[in-house]
Symmetry: C2
Subunit: 256 residues, 2 copies
């Protein structure tokens, strides 16, 4: 199809830069951005729960009656595959809201939320959440930002999955995880995520053995190292090079 001219977005502000992936895709730190009074109102409404490591906050197939906020710990949001593998879609870090996708249509859960480590979670019934939004208008944008951010994450995953070979998919996954969850110290990015090779394979559509092979190659190339089965990216630049090296030519691209 021809490259079209945008309609109303066509006037661009001079010098407005496209934001980095990190800034663009950071999900709403809902709790952090609540003002004092809003935060107090939420705390008065919500129930607090401790979730042990490995336990589910909610499960796919169950009812979706509550919205959750992560006080501390780490949550992974998974969708089951037909074969029963749990595909990790994204992680939630402290401050983030989750489980709100069902608020608007009142349906059951399509995804599960598991605690990767012991976590402290606030829960609010959907009814109370709707009332909270209605009486705290600032929180509407925070909720929409959480949903939008995750929409972009999944969009990136889709494009990655349909476009790239296994090597590149793994490289790009690691870069995305680094951008969103990495802790940076002197040029090295620590991924404080308890990810097995099987979980990585499930996220990028390959096999556990292929991930083991590729991660081993990345270690030998000095791209990353492993400590306590956690990945540390020694050179984001090298990983970026790897992820761009195998770009295939466009089929059916005007001007190709």
């Amino acid at each position: 199809m021809r490259d079209g001219r945008p309609i109303d977005d066509r006037q661009t502000d001079g010098g407005e830069a496209f934001r980095s992936v990190e800034a663009q895709h950071t999900p709403s730190k809902f709790l952090t951005r609540l003002t004092g009074p809003d935060r107090a109102a939420l705390a008065a409404l919500a129930a607090s729960r401790r979730v042990p490591r490995g336990e589910a906050v909610f499960s796919a197939g169950g009812p979706g009656k509550h919205v959750y906020f992560l006080e501390s710990g780490k949550i992974k949001i998974c969708q089951p595959s037909p074969a029963g593998n749990e595909i990790i879609l994204w992680f939630c870090l402290p401050g983030e809201i989750f489980g709100l996708a069902e608020v608007s249509h009142g349906g059951g859960r399509v995804v599960s939320a598991f605690a990767c480590e012991e976590s402290l979670v606030l829960s609010l019934s959907q009814k109370d959440f709707r009332e909270f939004l209605a009486t705290h208008p600032d929180t509407v944008m925070l909720s929409m930002q959480a949903l939008s951010s995750r929409l972009r994450v999944l969009g990136e995953m889709v494009v990655n999955l349909v476009s790239d070979d296994a090597n590149t998919r793994i490289a790009k996954l690691l870069l995305r995880l680094a951008a969103r969850y990495g802790k940076r110290e002197g040029g090295i990015v620590h991924l404080d995520l308890p990810l097995t090779h099987e979980e990585i394979a499930n996220m990028v559509g390959t096999t556990r053995q292929t991930v083991t092979t590729v991660i081993g190659q990345f270690r030998r190339q000095g791209v990353l190292s492993i400590e306590n089965r956690r990945i540390q990216i020694e050179s984001e630049d090298l990983l970026t090079e790897i992820s761009q090296a195998a770009a295939p030519p466009a089929k059916h691209r005007p001007g190709s």
Copy 2:
């Protein structure tokens, strides 16, 4: 990980059925669900634009300053791959809102919106849209529903892409498109979507030739037929069987 018990969602309502995919994933028909006064207020604020077939409403990389509503026509939302292929993420039908993911963080566009056929589009600046939400609280849930619905669509795509072989991915894509956009007449589902084999290939991560081969097989099996280069699903049941036939066993599944 062990199957966890849900925390606050664990009490289920007796007999509450998990809704069908069609009901669950129907995006918010925003315009249709607006009440008369809300609709009039929106019409007073928004600008109307006619978009010829093939033109972009907005483009990836451009600024995201407006929110759009589709009065008539058909829009496809695409994200460019590194090779320059436009990957269709979803379609928008009349009544739907689109282009709102950038409202909450004010960033540039990651996706493009193209008119598949001549379309009539309302546009509203983000600023006006925020004010509209603030003064029309019913529209907050409609907006969140649109975002949530698309989140689920992309989640399904991700799980489909990482789990299935090419044959199954194509079958499931056709079923999803049928559920969301199909017109049903006497057991046959018409997909009134102008999709080429190349576009289908881009959506499921395969090649144009593989899609041509698989679509040909489906025709010979009586699963579907083609008219004016539009797919008609003759037997959803058969297509569903095909999409379930190749389910691989779970790796690392407790109890497998």
